[in-house]
């Protein structure tokens, strides 16, 4: 008789036990898929979060601008650079900066004005979604600015309050204007928190008499699958070599290291989960074989050879694992798909998580990928195969008389 047919009949005949065993494996498989997807989601999410909050994937500056943000350290042909970068399939946006004094009533503070391109900034970062109070900038509002949370506290201002700015124009005159608080940002970075005044690029251009050029270009990959290094290389090939092109890992090495470490830590966590799953599967397989020692004894007595018994046990396991992995994969993907779209909101546990001046998104999303599904499925097969070695050999070599009398 065909071993596969026999195994299938055995699985069907021991319906109750087979269901329990397969269910245990399916559940374990689903757990692993969800867990792996959550880890991948965490790593990807932290990256995206950091990148999307403020920094973008890649930033372009004149060399030295980051150390000494001189108003004249300008990429004068920034509009042209942007066009070239966009034609190459990347998203990019210009930013200009200026420093000065912002006053309200008796208090004043040194601030950094950040002029953003309101059309293109949303294509590279999610800054526009980080307004805690009030509204994001609007092109038609020529006096509204969005300021950092701590700056608002320092100046003791709230929505609608007046702000007076004094600084210097690029041609050496006094830059002076009044604004009002249109919005207050939640924590994005400590720089914006403490001294950030966000406004439209055109407003800032007029204020500091800087008709063209930009201090910073922020570039974002439109294809998230593209390697960051590769993207940097492509940008480098596109533009002049005298500009400094850094990706976010180079811009924020501490954060980058933190994410890498977190990745390793979660991998170790995952290893423990896998070990737990392995013991569940092993237990189920042991039970399903040892419960039937009596039955295997009779098979031996009627002349079935040990090798055939081993193959039979393996065939049964294989059938159950296939069923379990299909169910597990479907269940796991389903849960992951839900978590990918809805996320786990951690904000009730910790409000405003930030690290090294960079805020992290409090909602944890899973990330479903072929890898996070396939790895647990393959692992399930390997574990099942290893788990039945002992029971399979045990029943294969058992003496028929002992087995028949086994209870």
């Amino acid at each position: 008789m065909n071993i596969i047919t026999l195994a299938a009949r055995n699985v069907y005949r021991n319906g109750h036990r087979s269901v329990v065993t397969a269910a245990a494996m399916a559940f374990a498989c689903a757990m692993m898929i969800v867990f792996a997807s959550l880890i991948e989601g965490f790593v990807k999410g932290s990256e995206q979060n950091i990148v999307a909050m403020n920094s973008g994937d890649i930033q372009i500056h004149r060399p030295g601008y980051r150390d000494d943000p001189d108003i004249y350290s300008l990429m004068i042909d920034s509009a042209d650079l942007c066009n070239r970068i966009r034609q190459a399939g990347f998203a990019t946006s210009e930013r200009i900066f200026a420093f000065g004094l912002l006053a309200s009533g008796q208090s004043s503070s040194g601030v950094q004005l950040r002029g953003l391109d309101l059309d293109f900034e949303p294509t590279v970062t999610l800054l526009n979604r980080q307004v805690m109070l009030g509204d994001w900038l609007d092109k038609t509002d020529h006096h509204g600015v969005v300021i950092g949370k701590k700056l608002a506290r320092l100046l003791d201002v709230s929505l609608g309050d007046e702000l007076v700015f004094v600084g210097q124009t690029a041609d050496g005159y006094m830059a002076n204007d009044t604004f009002y608080v249109r919005g207050i940002m939640r924590t994005v970075s400590s720089a914006i928190d403490n001294a950030g005044v966000l406004m439209s690029k055109s407003m800032l251009r007029e204020l500091i008499a800087l008709p063209e050029g930009a201090h910073e270009l922020v570039v974002m990959r439109t294809d998230s699958m593209m390697n960051l290094e590769l993207a940097s290389q492509k940008i480098k090939a596109l533009i002049r070599s005298d500009l400094e092109i850094l990706n976010w890992r180079q811009l924020m090495p501490i954060i980058s290291r933190f994410i890498e470490t977190a990745h390793v830590q979660t991998l170790i966590m995952m290893l423990f989960t896998y070990i737990a799953v392995a013991s569940v599967v092993l237990n189920a397989m042991l039970m399903s074989v040892f419960e039937r020692i009596h039955e295997f004894g009779i098979m031996k007595a009627i002349g079935v050879r040990p090798w055939q018994i081993v193959r039979l046990v393996y065939a049964e396991t294989f059938i159950m694992t296939i069923v379990a992995s299909v169910i597990g994969a479907l269940l796991g993907s389903g849960i992951t798909w839900y978590l990918q779209n809805h996320g786990i909101d951690m904000s009730s546990l910790a409000e405003g998580i930030s690290f090294s001046g960079i805020a992290l998104d409090p909602v944890w999303y899973a990330s479903l990928s072929s890898e996070s599904v396939l790895t647990p499925v393959i692992f399930l097969f390997v574990i099942a195969a290893i788990a039945v070695i002992y029971p399979a050999i045990k029943v294969a070599v058992i003496h028929p008389v002992d087995a028949v009398h086994h209870h």
Binding site: Y72, L101, A103, Q106, S107, S108, S109, G110, V164, V166, Q168, A170, D171, G172, Y173, M174, N176, D177, T178
Partner: protein, 249 residues
Amino acid sequence: MRSLVTLIMIGLLASVFPANADKSRVRTLLNEIDDMWRGQSSYAITTMQVKTRHYTRSMKLEGWSKGKEKTLFRIIEPLREKGTATLKSANHIYTYLPKTDRTIKLTSGMMMGSWMGSHLTNDDLVKEARLEEDYDATISFEGVRDGQDIMEFTLIPKIDAAVVWGKLQLIILADSHIPVVEYYYDEDMLLARTISFSAIKTLGGRQRPSVLRVVPADKPDEYTEFVYEQLTFDLDLSDSLFSLSSLRK
């Protein structure tokens, strides 16, 4: 025995007196230099020219001072900034901005910022120090140098003086006591800036340099130059001139 005491006394006096005489002479000279610009009160019209790598611009200012605590400047040219005024009263600086019709008070964090785009900082205005009060001065050179009979003072800030410099060197003409050049050293004793005085003419009733040029040591091709066009001393200025309300005018 008495003669011995007398001898010691004479010896002590002899060693003390020259030093004292020297100190009081330094003090007199420094006060004279300080008073050269201020007097009890003053009124001045000055042109300020700022040249940097990126722009060159000039403005005309009028300024009043009373005592050493009160100063008021107002821009009269160019039109774009006319009416912008800076009031220094005690240790505070207020700026009136006609464009927005607002007065703001500068906080300590802004003190090292540039004043009106020049090479002077707001701190320079606040700390317009009396040399004699804030520094321990010695005459480090006296005689002819580069064909000029000069005196060179080295000024070290007193321990409790709120001064940002590490050392000052001031060179004056030996006969007229007119300053020639002043070197400012930072806390690491590196040259930070040079102020040179030139174009001596009769201003406010006496001979003084009418041009002050500030050159930052790290940008030798840049400068801020003040040209005194008019200078009058010891006017009867009321305290209300140096108030926030007169700042707006």
